[in-house]
Structure formats: C-alpha cells, structure tokens
C-alpha cells in the first residue's frame, strides 16, 4: 500500500514537471511575441534606431530568442535563473527578497483565511437552512462581489487616512516588532482574506451538505450520534477531497494573483515584479516568475490530490 502511494506521488510529480515545461514554453512564446524589446524600451523616448541597434548589440539581444530560452533552461538545470536584461543583476537576487515577501503575505493570509473559511463553511452546513446559514451564504456572496481594489482602498481610507491606526503602505523592511508586523500586514491580509475566503466557504458548505445526505451519516444518527459528531466524524472526513481541492485553488491565487493588493499597498511582491518584467520584456525574469507561479499552483494542486487520496482508504 505505502509503495502504491509513493508510486502515485511520483507519477503526480512527473505530470507536474511536464505541465511546468508546457507553461514555460507558452510564456516564452507569448512574451517573445510582444512588440518592442528590452533595448528599445530601456531607451524609451531616446529609442532612435541606431541607438537601439547599438544597445541590442551590447546586450546580445540579437541571437534568436529560442536560443536564449534554451540557454536559460540549461542554466536552470544548474540552479541558475540567469541575469536580468533590464539591469544586469542576477535574476535570483531580484526575485529573492520579493519571493520571501510574497510567501509571507500568502502564508499569513492562509493562516487566517483557511481556518476562518472552513469553520464558517462547516458550521453553516451543520445549521443548514438556519438564519446563521443564510447570513453566512449571503455574506460570502456579497464578499465575492466587491472588486478587490475597492476593498483595499476603502480599508486604507478608513484605517490609515481617517483613523490613522495603520500605515497606508506595507513597507516590509520596517517590521521590527510583532506589533509592526501586525500593523503592516493587517490591511493586505484582510483584503486578500475577503477575496479568497468566500469561494472556500461555499465549497466547504456544499461538500459537507453533500455527504450529510449519505446513508452512513443517517446510520450515525440512528446510532444516537450528536449532530456535531455526525458532521465532524462522518461527513467531514469524506468531504475532505473536494474541500482541499477548493482550498488549493483559492490559495493558488495568493501566489500570482495579488498584483492589485501589491500595487495599492506598495508591497514589494513577486506579482508586481513580473508586471515590470513584462513591461521591460525582461525574458529571464519573466520566465523565472512564471516558473514560480506555475510551481506554486502545481504544488498546491498536487498536494490537494494527494491529501484527497490519503483521506480515502479505497484509493490508498
């Protein structure tokens, strides 16, 4: 059985790698189709043909894109992400700090939103049809429906501009104490929690309700089990699959989807980095970011699959 699981995990990972390659190629293809290249964009208004030509020459932008892509892939195998075109810094250095920031934000948001969403979803399912249930449902819908930047801006105006409780910017390098940390992360985390929780709540609720109508839950009731026991012991373990899947999908948003939050709170994360990279057609940087997003997504999805399988004796 264990070996079966290992084989399965291995298979999943192999698949993930293939997917990754597809993505990298797609991204490469897309970006090399973009008009303009780093040289001309760096020169901006000063982009006279000869100037561009000269700079291109100097930056070795002349050899075919596919070649540069392969060179980058090769470097990747040696753990080298290449050097940025826009400023001759190594991509790893550019990404490093920002990646950590993104992970911090994602991590904290996860810690807050997932337990919150699951509890709300499960309790709503337990009290299905009750006023509480309906309130949760409506609220969760309401929350999905408000544009992200609206939530963020409102938060800033309220907490930073009028109440002056929190800083309007999340400047990470000023986090010296725990209170700083809280003050700095409060608003982005709230915003993101708003964005991703609703979906998880809905999914959890649906999944639990689904399993609540199965014969074995009815059987538990006929054994005299309490409602909470029916949900926690019998319904939940069997609803785990769809739930973790939904959670994974929602969380994957935190890796690359937070561009708006990063913009509004001026949070130096990796999404904004990729936007810059696209703006300057900085191929190595774009590739690296894309790879990180894709990896994040795949890890989450794969993890979800594996948890689902583990939780189901029939599959293990």
């Amino acid at each position: 059985m264990k070996s079966g699981v290992l084989k399965l995990v291995a298979k999943r990972l192999a698949v993930a790698v293939i997917t990754l390659l597809i993505v990298l190629f797609a991204v490469f293809f897309a970006t090399s189709m973009l008009p303009g290249d780093t040289a001309s964009i760096l020169l901006g208004q000063a982009a006279t043909p000869e100037a561009v030509a000269g700079l291109r020459e100097a930056m070795h932008l002349n050899d075919p894109a596919i070649l540069r892509f392969l060179r980058w892939l090769l470097g990747l195998l040696h753990g080298d992400l290449g050097t940025s075109y826009a400023n001759e810094m190594p991509v790893a250095a550019l990404i490093g700090g920002r990646f950590v920031n993104t992970m911090k934000l994602a991590g904290i948001t996860t810690l807050i939103s997932v337990p919150l969403a699951l509890t709300l979803g499960i309790t709503a399912a337990m009290l299905r049809g009750s006023l509480y249930d309906r309130t949760v449902t409506i609220l969760s819908i309401g929350v999905i429906s408000v544009p992200e930047f609206m939530v963020a801006t409102l938060a800033v105006l309220l907490f930073a501009v009028y109440l002056r409780w929190l800083p309007a910017l999340s400047s990470v390098n000023e986090a010296h104490s725990l209170t700083d940390l809280v003050r700095i992360y409060a608003m982005p985390v709230i915003t993101l929690t708003f964005v991703i929780s609703a979906q998880m709540i809905r999914m959890t609720r649906a999944a639990v309700i689904e399993t609540l109508s199965t014969p074995y839950v009815e059987m538990a009731l006929l054994k005299g089990a309490s409602r909470s026991r029916m949900v926690l012991r019998h319904a939940l373990p069997n609803a785990l699959g769809p739930i973790v899947n939904a959670v994974a999908l929602s969380l994957s948003y935190l890796v690359g989807g937070v561009i708006i939050v990063e913009t509004i709170f001026n949070y130096p994360g990796i999404a904004k980095l990729m936007v810059d990279a696209v703006a300057t057609r900085d191929l190595p940087l774009i590739q690296s970011c894309a790879m990180i997003f894709c990896l994040g997504y795949l890890l989450l999805i794969t993890a979800a699959d594996i948890i689902a399988i583990m939780s189901n004796p029939r599959l293990r």
Binding site: S213, T214, P215, Y216, E218, M219, A220, L221, L222, K223, G224, A225, S226, R229, R233, H234, P237, N238, S311, N312, P313, R314
Partner: protein, 553 residues
Amino acid sequence: MSMTNLVEVRNLRIEATTDAGRVVEIIKGVSLDIADGEIIALIGESGSGKTTVALSLMGYARPGCRITGGEINVNGKNMAALSEKERARLRGTDIAYVPQSAAASFNPSSTIMEQVIEVTRIHKLMPPEQARKRAVELFRALSLPDPEGIGARYPHQVSGGQLQRLAAAMALIGDPKLVIFDEPTTALDVTTQIDVLKAFKSVMKAGGIAGVYVSHDLAVVAQIADRIVVLKGGEVQETGTTGEILSAAQHPYTRELLAAFEPKPRQAQADADAATKELLRIDNLTAGYGPVRGDGLPLIRAVQSVSMVVEKGRNLGIIGESGCGKSTLARVIAGIHPAAAGEIVFDGKELERAARKRSQDQLREMQIVFQYADTALNPAKPVEDIISRPLAFYHRLDRQARSKRVDELLDMVRLPRALRYRHPSELSGGQKQRVNFARALAADPKLIICDEITSALDTVVASAVIELLKELQRELGLSYIFISHDLSVVEAICDKIMVMYNGERVEQITPDNVKAPTHPYSKLLFSSVPKLDPTWLDGLVRDPELVSQYGHR
C-alpha cells in the same frame, strides 16, 4: 397504560411532503405490538412503507417525512413525543437498526471496528478495550472469518455478506432490546444468505432480543419470524403467526405473495422435438480485467474458456453466485467488454469482439438489458424519448410512426400509455424495468440478454415481469439469455440452465432435473434456495466440506 408489550404502536400516521409541497400520507394509521424476544416480520411490496414504519420505531422519519399522529411506545417511552435528545439517548442502546444496504451504511473512511464500537463511545457504555473484546465475541457469534483481525479492515475490504453481518454486530453491541433489520439479505447470494440468516437467528434467540425483520421475501421471513405483518399502501393488511399466514392467508396481496412461490407451469415447448436452429454459439470464450499478459490474456480472468449455445426461440439461463463472471460473460457477448480469446458466432456469422466494430444490424439484433433499471435509464429523459431513440436510430421512423410504435411497446410491456411523459425518477422499480425492457424490444432484436433484471424487484413484481417475458417470447419468437443468482426465477423461464462458478462453466442442466444436479457446487447452490416451510432453515443440513470449499470466501 399498562406495558404488556415491548413495542406498542397505535395508529401511526406519517406524512411526506413531496417536492411540489404537496403533503401525502404514506403511513395511514398503522398499529402493531411486539412482545419481548419476539421477532415480527414486516412484508409488503416496494413502497408499501416497510422502511418508514421500521424507522419510526426509532422515532426517526427520513427527510421530507413527518410523524403526524399516533403513539410509538417502545419500552414504555413514546418515541413520537420525546425530544430529539432523549431519542438519541435510546438509539443504539434500546433500539438498534440494521440498514437495508450495509455497504452504503458504513463510513468508507474509517475502520470497521471504530464504527462497530462507536455506539459504546457515544453512549459511554463501556471503555473501548472492553467494547473491542465484545465486538470480537459478536464477530465470532456471527461466524465471521478472522474475528480478531476483521475489525481493522476498511468497509471496502470485506464482502457484502460479511458487511451485512458486521452491521448486525454494530447493532448488537449496545445490547438493545429491539433490533430492526431492513431487508438485510436482499442483496446477498442464496449461499451467503443462509449463513447470515442462521447467524442472526441464533444471536437473537440467544440474547432473547426482540426484532423487526423487514423483507419482501416470504420464504426468508418464514425462517426467522414468529409473526408476520403484511403492509400495503401504508396500511396493515393482515397480521398473524408465521404458520397462519403461510397456511391460511386471508388478504389477496398475501395470496399473491404466496402464489409467486408456487412453481410455475413452464410452457411446454411445442416444437420440442422439432430440430432447433442455433442462434448464438460461443466457443472457449475467455475475458477478464487488468493488464494483458504475455499470452494475450488479462491478469484477472472473470470468464474462463466458456462455451455455450443458444437456440432460436429458446432461452438459456446462467446462474452462479455473485462475482462468478455472469455479467462479464454477458458484456463480452454484447461486445461491451471485448473478449481476450474465443469466438462468438451469431446467426451464422462470426462477430467482431468489440461492439464498435460490429455492423448496425448485428448490434440491433442482439440487445442487452441491465440489472439496475435506474442507472440503465437516463434520468434526464422522458420515457418516450428513451424508447423511441432505437426506433429513430435503427429504423429511421418519423415522428408519428415513432409515437405510434411507442404506444404499442408500452402496451406490450403492460404500461399505461400516459407514462410516456414521465421521467424515470417518477416510476416504480418494476415500471422502470419494463421501460428498460421496452427499449430493448424497440430494436426488434433476435436475442435479448437479461442481466439479473428481476433481482432488484420484489417477488410479486418479479414474477409479473417473468410472465411478461414469456408472453413476448411467444408473440415475437425471441430468445433470451437470462442471468440470475435466483434459481426459482431461472427455472421459471429457461430451457437450459448453465451453472457458473469462478468464471467457469461447471455444468449445464435442464429445469426438469434441477432436483438432481451432478456437480457439487450446483448441489450447494440449489439446496440453498429457501423454502416457504418455516422449519427449512433449522432442518437444513449442508455438507460441511462442500460449504468450506464453495461457500462465500
């Protein structure tokens, strides 16, 4: 009031709210008594309210249903009046339930032991260790294999028969005064059924536990029940001791039930002597599942070099226990599951193994009817669409012609024409099976393969369907391959019976000499079919080494 009986139900009324919001009364004033240690049987056709009544004894009504009137006194307490909390306290301790399908009623993601002893946890009856000991004792008492180890397994790792007994153990652990069995053996093979029945009976008698045994199989009921209550349309038709009911049944429905058991006079083959033409012959057919190995044969062989012949206008019965390869064989013949080896000759022409490669006419002339009508009929389509599709597909009929033909087909299968507008979910089990069959007829085939088409139906409906098949055969000169694990059904319709065991054909016999099968497995099989005689089970002596060799593994 003075408590004489353990259970006293007084004109119980249960209403159900249909999704139209319409309220229908599904139990119309039922009253019944159960004395301590007495086992009564609730019998009646599907939909008569058996489960509903049984569950009401635990003060439970399924979603959409509501107990609206009457008393349900169990052990002095009126379940109808109690609060949900108090009811919960009695469930599992005073009254326990053995569900209709154990397979569905076990939580797939936790071990059997956990679920068996859960009752003791919920009601804090005893420390877990003790509970486990108790459980193991019960496993032994219910003659389960490997009583020590079986608890550690997950539900999907044990057979249906075993699960059914484990469900019983789960019910008995809180040693209740009343146990409710909801058709505990309907899903089982005859061979397995015997053991389960035996186990139940002994445990109940030993503990002096009262029971309610829900079933629609009189023969089974006869073995275990002291008294029988006959339900129909949510009303008690008649009550009496098992003896009375079997000997002198009053109510017509009860008579029908009994009639279903009398061996039916099979149509004497008019052209018995006339040389019969062969319609289908299969030679050394082998098929299975799993990876194909070097010799081109699959790992799991579900069918092992089986040969057989079906003659025009005649029927072949295939019987054998669950998992012996009957369905696989059927699917192989129909080309759903291509054979690994062997050949199929139909109407003189050799058939491709995969249906996809066969010609439209070949497909049309051989139709298959599946066991479970509810999965065989597309729930999203009204009956008329379902039936008229083959008409459009094979016979290219236009609208009027189709709708005319649909009417004819509905008549053929004895369904009211009005039904054509309904969706499958709006039909009873028997009706579904008829529609299922009508669709096969629509193709006007030469051969129809029926895979356990009566297994999901109760005895009365089943025998009605069988009768229908016979008539249609007379009118249309069809041939059937009739698969079942229920000998009586096969006897009733087939000219030849092939017995399968473990994917192989063990012998072929004619209904006339079923009394004297030659192969030991056939012996076991045939001897396991319950008789109406209440003493049959106790009197039954089975060759132990036969059982150990061929009994459920």
